[in-house]
């Protein structure tokens, strides 16, 4: 079967079904459903004449069905009703269920000569309720209503209350009692505080029981002239008379014309308390009411698709999207920034925490933060033991400069608080009581929202430096005050620094000494630098000259100083003035070899000279003579005139003998009044004897001693060298001594040569 033929048969079927139903209606009449807003018998009684009237006028049997809302909905669902009359709210629900269009007419109510096409709600309470006078008073009270789909009995009062700020679904307990009569009863008995009913019901009931109003009170009563009923709300169009779509249009026309033809004095109209029917009213206000209250059929918020929204609010939508995108981008960017900041902060924090230099943050004179190095510096175990304390807790009572730690810290903090950066040396006390010097820097850190700046404090451990300084100071003192002269030169020996002793010994001022060479031995000169460089040290004594010209003897020790790479960098020299020492030494040496009285060589030196002269005589093959001289009659002089006169005599005779002899000859005093002479290079015997004779004469001349002229003589013995046999000096001198002895024996004042004969 093609689609076209299917559609055709469908249309055909519908037409047949429609024709059938209209025939059925024509034969069986129509059904008019009326909503029982009052008890069903009452409605049945009132509207039966209207049904009869319509039957009569239209020629169609009209069956009256009085139904409550549920029954009417069921009847409508099964198409048992052709026309109905109900309240506008209920009508809206039915219309939305069935897509009805056909409001044929709007009911015009009549009340004691006044007519109205408007309906409203009445808000009732008991007359004794003094606490309920205005709409606002209804909040929280219990409410009786006939049902949700009652215009006057629910929706109209609900809107007025909503406008007054009372949302009854949220603020009140609402009971639905299905009928207006029961609502009034509930209010009368006090089951509920408030009752909602539609307009007109109260007046109808008043006919039966005139004292009804004595127990009741109307809230928010409206003063509307020309309106026949008591009302609490604004007004809406009265009930619609509706035809259902399945009803044949001819039937609808007949019923409609009968409705409009109904006159106000017709018994049917009077029985139903109506004036008649007017053309359909505009029920838009009822729709708006239901929409505002979000009630059926407008309780569902229409499904709005995104496209609808987009179409209606395109510009807004795009703006919002753009804003949202920019917000997302901004927040992404911000979160990235924040993450980076956090990483940065962590890094910085880690850096500060592990930074080897102690750092602390001070706020209100108390530590609020510190790093590990700070904790370690003061030998504590954890940061917590530092935080919250003042800096003076880690300081001795007073600093080395005498001010108290507390006072000094206060001054510092005040200075830093004024924006300065302060730096000073500070003595801290560790937890174990030991002291540590730090170089402390305090800098202000301005933080937002804080009036006084925090203070960033850093410590630099200068303990080692302090000790080094101490040592240096000591070294300097030693250097300055040493008795030895100390100088430092560069690698070339040029003096760089000297001490006071240097100036004292050399006579050179610091100014002139620095930049020139130090005192050096005349013969070796700067060669000693090379020696010192080679051996590490050079030591020696040498003659030098004081700045003012006098000669000095210096004892110098020169050490080379090597740098870290083993290269020579400096020389350090120390020297002392040993001039005095040398002089003493020389005197001692003279005492050993010379006769103190006459200054002539003594026996020791004589032996030495004799030894040398003998060796020389042998080498040069010449003769030498040794003469032994002993003074005659010396003792009487000594005894007569004293030792001083004796000494003077000896000195004078020694001088005379010395003068008689040649330069190369040696005259020595052997002791007492004994002398000896070495005569070198003796040409012959006669020459020697001539010398001997001269000696005798010289000695025998008178000498003036102790104011006396004294005359002595001498006995001389002599011997020659070399002789036939080799002999030593002592033997030679003994020979001369023996010869002298001979001369003495022979009568004194004469000379005698040694001979082997023993004479």
């Amino acid at each position: 079967m093609s689609f076209r033929s299917f559609a055709y048969s469908l249309v055909l079927f519908s037409a047949i079904a429609g024709a059938w139903s209209s025939t059925v209606q024509a034969a069986q009449g129509v059904t008019l459903g009326i909503f029982a807003y009052r008890p069903e018998p009452v409605i049945q009684q009132r509207y039966a004449p209207l049904a009869d009237y319509l039957s009569h006028e239209s020629g169609l049997p009209v069956r009256l069905l009085v139904l409550n809302q549920e029954d009417m909905n069921r009847a409508l669902a099964t198409n048992q009703i052709d026309f109905f009359l109900t309240n506008p709210s209920h009508f809206l629900v039915i219309r939305s269920d069935r897509s009805l269009t056909g409001v044929l007419a709007t009911l015009e109510r009549d009340w004691q000569g006044q007519s109205t096409g408007s309906i409203g709600g009445v808000i009732l309470t008991r007359a004794g309720r003094d606490d309920i006078n205005r709409l606002e008073d209804v909040r929280g009270k219990s409410i009786a209503t006939p049902g949700m789909h009652f215009l006057g009995g629910y929706q109209a009062p609900a809107l007025e209350l909503m406008d007054a700020g009372v949302d009854i679904l949220r603020h009140n307990r609402v009971v639905h009692l299905n009928s207006h009569d029961r609502v009034i009863r509930a209010v009368q008995t006090g089951d509920t505080d408030i009752g909602f009913i539609r307009t007109g019901v109260l007046e109808e009931l008043l006919l039966g029981s005139p004292d009804l109003m004595a127990g009741l009170k109307v809230v928010n009563q409206q003063q509307l002239s020309g309106y026949p009923f008591v009302v609490s709300t604004r007004l809406y169009p009265e009930w619609p008379f509706v035809s259902l779509p399945h009803v044949d249009s001819r039937v609808v026309r007949r019923i409609a014309s009968a409705l409009f033809a109904l006159e106000q004095d017709h018994p049917a109209a009077k029985a139903a308390y109506i004036r008649g029917f007017s053309p359909p009213a505009d029920y838009q206000s009822v729709e708006t009411l239901a929409r505002t209250l979000r009630m059926a059929p407008y309780d569902q918020v229409p499904r709005v698709t995104w496209l609808d929204v987009l179409n209606q609010y395109r510009v807004w939508g795009i703006t919002v999207v753009l804003l949202f995108i920019s917000l997302m981008i901004t927040s992404l960017w911000l979160s990235r920034q924040r993450r980076q900041l956090a990483i940065e902060e962590r890094r910085l924090r880690g850096l500060i925490a592990s930074w080897p230099q102690p750092m602390l943050m001070i706020r209100d004179a108390a530590l609020v933060e510190c790093n590990r190095a700070a904790v370690e510096l003061v030998s504590y175990t954890s940061e917590a033991s530092l935080l919250g304390k003042g800096l003076q807790a880690f300081s001795p009572h007073s600093q080395p400069d005498g001010t108290s730690s507390l006072q000094k810290m206060d001054t510092l903090i005040r200075r830093v608080g004024a924006g300065e950066v302060a730096q000073c040396e500070w003595l801290l006390v560790r937890s174990d009581g030991s002291e540590v010097w730090v170089d402390m820097t305090l800098a202000p850190v301005y933080e937002k929202g804080q009036e006084a700046p925090s203070i960033l404090c850093s410590w630099y451990d200068i303990n080692r430096r302090k000790h080094a300084e101490e040592r240096q100071r000591l070294a300097l003192r030693v250097f300055e005050h040493a008795r030895e002269a100390i100088f430092i030169t560069d690698a070339h020996g040029v003096v760089m620094d000297i001490n006071e002793a240097y100036t004292r010994i050399t006579g050179r001022e610091h100014r002139s000494a620095v930049g020139s060479l130090p005192p050096l031995p005349l013969d070796e000169g700067s060669a000693i630098l090379i020696a010192a460089r080679k051996h590490g040290v050079w030591a020696g004594e040498f003659a030098s000259r004081h700045w003012d010209g006098h000669a000095t003897m210096l004892s110098l020790t020169l050490s080379s100083v090597f740098d870290d790479h083993g290269g020579l960098s400096h020389f350090v020299g120390t020297f002392t003035d040993i001039t005095q020492l040398k002089e003493t030494e020389k005197q001692l040496r003279t005492l050993a070899h010379f006769d103190a009285l006459t200054g002539l060589p003594n026996r020791v030196l004589f032996s030495d000279r004799l030894h040398q002269s003998m060796a020389q005589a042998r080498r040069q093959a010449y003769q030498l003579a040794v003469i032994y001289i002993d003074l005659d009659h010396f003792k009487p002089v000594n005894d007569a005139f004293g030792h001083d006169a004796g000494d003077g005599l000896l000195i004078e005779l020694a001088r005379r003998m010395r003068a008689t002899l040649r330069e190369e000859d040696t005259l020595a005093r052997l002791g007492g009044d004994e002398f000896a002479v070495i005569v070198v290079n003796v040409a012959d015997e006669p020459t020697l004897q001539a010398l001997l004779s001269r000696l005798l004469i010289t000695v025998s001349e008178s000498v003036w001693v102790a104011d006396h002229s004294v005359e002595v003589s001498a006995s001389l013995g002599y011997t020659l060298y070399p002789q036939d046999i080799e002999m030593d000096g002592d033997q030679l001198l003994r020979q001369a001594d023996q010869a002298m002895y001979h001369a003495k024996r022979d009568g004194k004042n004469r000379y005698c040569k040694f001979s082997d004969s023993g004479t």
């Binding site: 109205t116 408007s118 003063q223 509307l224 002239s225 020309g226 604004r234 009213a281």
Partner: protein
């Protein structure tokens, strides 16, 4: 005597046009008097749709509002367009910010039975309240039938005395409105002409002073919005509104329905059209100015660049 005075059976107390005080935002004082076209503002006030920025100053007749505008006691008013022009020409610059209604049949010409057509009016004595909107109607009508005011004999008479004059034979015709029109008709008169034959001529408008428009545009917007909100209730919930209007005017709901039939209540879109640059309001205002000056009812023409200002109209009414 203003034509709307007859509606004033229960005269709303004229609120004290006292001093507003110097501190705090003074509300926009708006002169109003009972007339079906102004009912939306009354309804708005009754339902609380006028914010604190707007205060209705209720007078008995249009003259109260005109006086208030001229003395500076009022910032805005609901009056007819010709009344607005007269206030303007007397030195208070105004702007028309909304059209409340357009008369379509409210003003009628009732004539003695022997007058069959408008052209028969030549030489007749016509009773008219010249100072009111009836004057405008008369001149517009004469212009339309090609007569000048010299060719008829004008009897300047308050409307409420027309019936008496009619019976005394003092007038052959009357320009009047309900209920006088109905009374004259019962006395044998026939309606020869009414304002519905001169569409878009007789306007009731909301005006604000130039000063208020410049200094307090938000309050003006609130006023206009309140009018349209009330208008919507009047139109959409007529089953309710008629009773409220009837209560305020002291007449029956049926009378309200009848008077509603004699006016057009333009909605927002229509207002935009009327208030447009060189739109209907400005065109009619120019013509009215010419007529009023020609007939000696206005001394000088008001000077303005724009009289109508649609910028205060809301985009929509929710």
């Amino acid at each position: 005597m203003n034509r709307r005075h007859f509606l004033q059976l229960s005269v709303a107390a004229v609120s004290a046009m006292g001093l507003g005080g110097c501190s705090g935002p003074v509300p926009l004082r708006t002169g109003i008097h009972p007339w079906i076209g102004y009912e939306p503002l009354y309804l708005a006030e009754e339902f609380g749709w006028l914010p604190g920025s707007v205060e209705l100053v209720k007078g008995a007749a249009a003259t109260d509002s005109m006086r208030g505008l001229l003395s500076g006691e009022l910032d805005a008013a609901a009056i007819t367009l010709d009344e607005a022009l007269r206030v303007f020409s007397e030195g208070v610059p105004l702007r028309v910010v909304a059209v409340a209604d357009v008369s379509v049949g409210a003003d009628v010409l009732v004539v003695k039975p022997d007058i069959a057509s408008l052209s028969d009016l030549r030489g007749c004595s016509i009773g008219v309240e010249l100072a009111g909107v009836s004057g405008v109607m008369l001149f517009a009508m004469l212009e339309r039938i090609g007569l000048t005011s010299d060719q008829v004999s004008l009897v300047d008479l308050p409307v409420d005395r027309h019936l008496e004059a009619w019976h005394n034979g003092d007038i052959d015709a009357s320009i009047c409105y309900e209920p006088t029109a109905s009374l004259l008709a019962q006395a044998g008169g026939s309606r020869l002409f009414d304002s519905s034959q001169m569409p878009d001529t007789i306007f009731d408008v909301l005006v604000v002073t130039e000063q208020a428009a410049r200094r307090r545009p938000d309050a003006v917007r609130d006023l206009v919005y309140g009018h349209f909100r009330g208008l919507r209730h009047l139109v959409r919930s007529m089953h309710d509104a008629v009773y409220r209007v009837a209560t305020r005017q002291g007449v029956s709901p049926d009378a309200v329905r009848q008077s509603l039939a004699t006016v057009m209540l333009p909605e927002l879109a229509a207002n935009q059209r009327y208030l447009a640059y060189h739109g209907r309001i400005e065109v009619v205002a120019r013509r009215l100015t010419e007529v009023l000056i020609r007939e000696g009812m206005m001394q000088t023409a008001p000077v303005y660049e724009r009289l109508a200002d649609p910028s205060f109209l809301p985009r929509s009414v929710s």
